[in-house]
Structures are given as structure tokens and as C-alpha cells.
């Protein structure tokens, strides 16, 4: 396409029409599947099923519509790194929020008096107040 060699560093990828249409109808099908499956109660699996289908749809949108399949490696790493940030964000806060009940007796444990120390054998030594 380019006449001068130094301009020929790369060609733009053109995704064909039938690829877009196939992906579009797959996305519609998966949307229908989510709605059908939501009519049943799978208990704890409700969220897992819904989010798994959403993630498959998300991959189709990112890979084909946004063209990440043909993007440079740097752009792939960039956008996928956001998933790591979100995972850290959720996991660290969830570790706090969902384990608070586990340690609900934490405040009722008697704290040692400020003038006590524990020696190497595990014995409590109370130093007399000055």
C-alpha cells in the first residue's frame, strides 16, 4: 500500500463484515441465555453463572469490536492490567468487610496493662509503677 519503504512499518487490520455479524449474533444469544437462566434459582451459582456469561460477552466485545486481538502487545498488557487493579481493590476490601464478624470478640479480649511485659518463657512480668 505504501510506496516508500520507511512508511511500511505496519498495515491497519480490517475486520470483515461477517466476523462482526457473527460476534453480534453470538452476543444476542448469550444475552438471551442470561435472561433464561435468571428465571431459575441456582442458589449460590446465580451470580457465578451471570458473571461468567457476562465475562464471555466482555471478551467478545474487547477482542473483536475493540480489536484487541490485533492490537500490539503493549496495549493488551495495558488493558488487562486494569483487571489486576480491580482484583486487588476487591480482594483487600472484601478480606476486611467479610471477616469482621469472625473477630467480633476482639474488643472483649482484655488488653494487657501498660506496665506488663511477656518474657521469653511466656510468663507475664508486671513491673512496679514508678
Amino acid at each position: 500500500m505504501y510506496e516508500i519503504e520507511s512508511e511500511r512499518s505496519g498495515e491497519y487490520h480490517v475486520t470483515e463484515l461477517n466476523v462482526y455479524l457473527k460476534v453480534f449474533f453470538t452476543l444476542l444469544g448469550l444475552t438471551g441465555l442470561t435472561i433464561v437462566l435468571a428465571q431459575f434459582n441456582f442458589g449460590a451459582f446465580n451470580a457465578i453463572i451471570a458473571l461468567t456469561i457476562s465475562t464471555i460477552k466482555g471478551w467478545l466485545v474487547i477482542g473483536y469490536f475493540m480489536g484487541l486481538r490485533h492490537e500490539e502487545k503493549l496495549n493488551k498488557i495495558t488493558i488487562l492490567s486494569s483487571l489486576i487493579f480491580v482484583a486487588i481493590f476487591y480482594v483487600l476490601i472484601a478480606m476486611d468487610v467479610f471477616t469482621r464478624e469472625t473477630f467480633s470478640n476482639y474488643n472483649s479480649v482484655q488488653k494487657p496493662a501498660p506496665n506488663t511485659q511477656v518474657d521469653e518463657a511466656g510468663k507475664t512480668i508486671t513491673t512496679p509503677k514508678q
Binding site: M1, Y2, E3, I4, S6, E7, S9, G10, E11, Y12, V14, T15, E16, L17, Y20, L21, V23, F24, L27, L28, T31, T34, I35, A38, N41, N46, A47, A50, L51, I53, S54, K57, G58, V61, I62, Y64, F65, M66, E71, E72, L74, N75, T78, I79, S81, S82, F85, V86, F89, Y90, I93, A94, V97, F98
Partner: protein, 217 residues
């Protein structure tokens, strides 16, 4: 101000790039980085949703009955359709068929407008019932004492998303003006592709919002 160079195909690029393709890729990398910040912004709301759902599962089951999944499903189809026409808009610019591309971009904006109209009817129906966020909550027959919490999340998540739809529509109209002016050709379409990526992200976020707000119980 950097000097603008022109290559043998008439593509313009700034002098500190090797060629027009190099400039295009650099611009695209900037858009992907911006999308990371967008994901981070929305993830704040998604994490809040996940934590509160984990803490008050019964309240979320009650709350999702107030949302009409048929409207949500309709909006999902509208946004998916707009995403495919956006992608086809770029496809036709790459093929040199600018008029066909223009029609696809116009259809994308129309889909965005339909989405916002449906959202308007959903919002006004809920506000009429008193299902308003936080301290404005005025619904009398709620079983859960903290139902207002769900609607706080609902309005923040769909509101921020709706704001993005409006921004995306504005950006697509901007590239339509530039397309009409003759700024784009098969080897020069960076702005359209950047706006396209933004629009697909808006679609992507709705793909997650629809099941977690309207369907999950």
C-alpha cells in the same frame, strides 16, 4: 508547535513520529490507558455493589423486583447493536466508503438516544414511586429497612453509565463532523477508532450492569 509532515499517501503526522502508522499506534495506546482509568472509576461502584450484596443478600433480592428486566434487555440489545454499527463505521472508513460509514455512525448515535429515552422512562417511573436514592428515599412498603442503599447504587451506576453514553454520543457527532469535512481516509482514522473504543467500553460496562442490577437474585 511541532512541524507536520506528510507521507506519500497524503497522511499527516507530527515530525517526532517515524510515520503515520507510528502516530496512530501511539494515539491508540493513549486511549487504552484512558480506558484503564475508566475501568478503575467504575470498579469503585462495582466493588461497593459486591460488598453490599455480600452483606445484605435478601435486600438485593427484594430490590431487583422493582426493576423491569424487559427494559434492561431491550437496552442491552440497543447498545450491542450500536456497538456493531460503530465497529462497522470504522470498517467502512478503512474501505473508503465514507457515506456508508456516516450512516453507520448516525445509527450509533440514534441507538444511544434510544437507550437514554428508555432510561428516562425507567428513572421517572421509579422517582414517581418514591424509589429515590439515599436520604430522598420515599417508598412506604419496603420489606428491607435499607432498600434505599440499593437505589443509591442503582442511580450512581446507571447514572455514571448514562453520562458516558451522552459523552459517547457527543464524541461520535464530533467525528461525524470531521468525517464530513474529509479528515478521515483508509489510512488515517485515529480519532474514529479512539471514539469507537470508548463507545465499546460503555457497551462493555452495560454488559455487566444489566445482569447484576436487573437479573441476579
Amino acid at each position: 508547535m511541532s512541524t507536520v509532515k506528510t507521507d506519500s499517501l497524503g497522511n499527516k503526522y507530527a515530525e517526532h513520529y517515524d510515520n503515520a502508522y507510528h502516530q496512530h499506534n501511539t494515539g491508540m495506546h493513549g486511549v487504552w490507558l484512558f480506558l484503564v482509568t475508566e475501568v478503575m472509576m467504575f470498579s469503585g461502584l462495582f466493588v461497593a455493589y459486591a460488598l453490599f450484596k455480600g452483606k445484605y443478600p435478601e435486600m438485593f433480592v427484594e430490590a431487583h423486583k422493582f426493576l423491569d428486566w424487559r427494559l434492561g434487555a431491550f437496552n442491552t440489545v440497543v447498545l450491542l447493536g450500536s456497538s456493531v454499527t460503530m465497529a462497522l463505521g470504522i470498517h467502512y472508513i478503512q474501505k473508503g466508503k465514507n457515506n456508508v460509514a456516516m450512516a453507520h455512525l448516525a445509527f450509533t448515535v440514534l441507538c444511544g438516544a434510544i437507550f437514554m429515552v428508555v432510561k428516562y422512562f425507567e428513572y421517572s417511573h421509579k422517582i414517581h414511586e418514591g424509589l429515590t436514592p439515599g436520604m430522598f428515599f420515599n417508598f412506604q412498603n419496603a420489606e428491607s429497612a435499607n432498600l434505599a442503599l440499593f437505589f443509591g447504587l442503582y442511580y450512581c451506576m446507571t447514572g455514571l453509565h448514562g453520562f458516558h453514553v451522552l459523552c459517547g454520543m457527543g464524541l461520535i457527532i464530533w467525528v461525524m463532523f470531521r468525517l464530513k469535512r474529509g479528515d478521515f481516509k483508509p489510512t488515517q482514522f485515529t480519532a474514529v477508532e479512539g471514539v469507537g473504543l470508548f463507545w465499546h467500553l460503555v457497551d462493555l460496562i452495560w454488559i455487566y450492569l444489566f445482569p447484576i442490577l436487573y437479573l441476579m437474585h
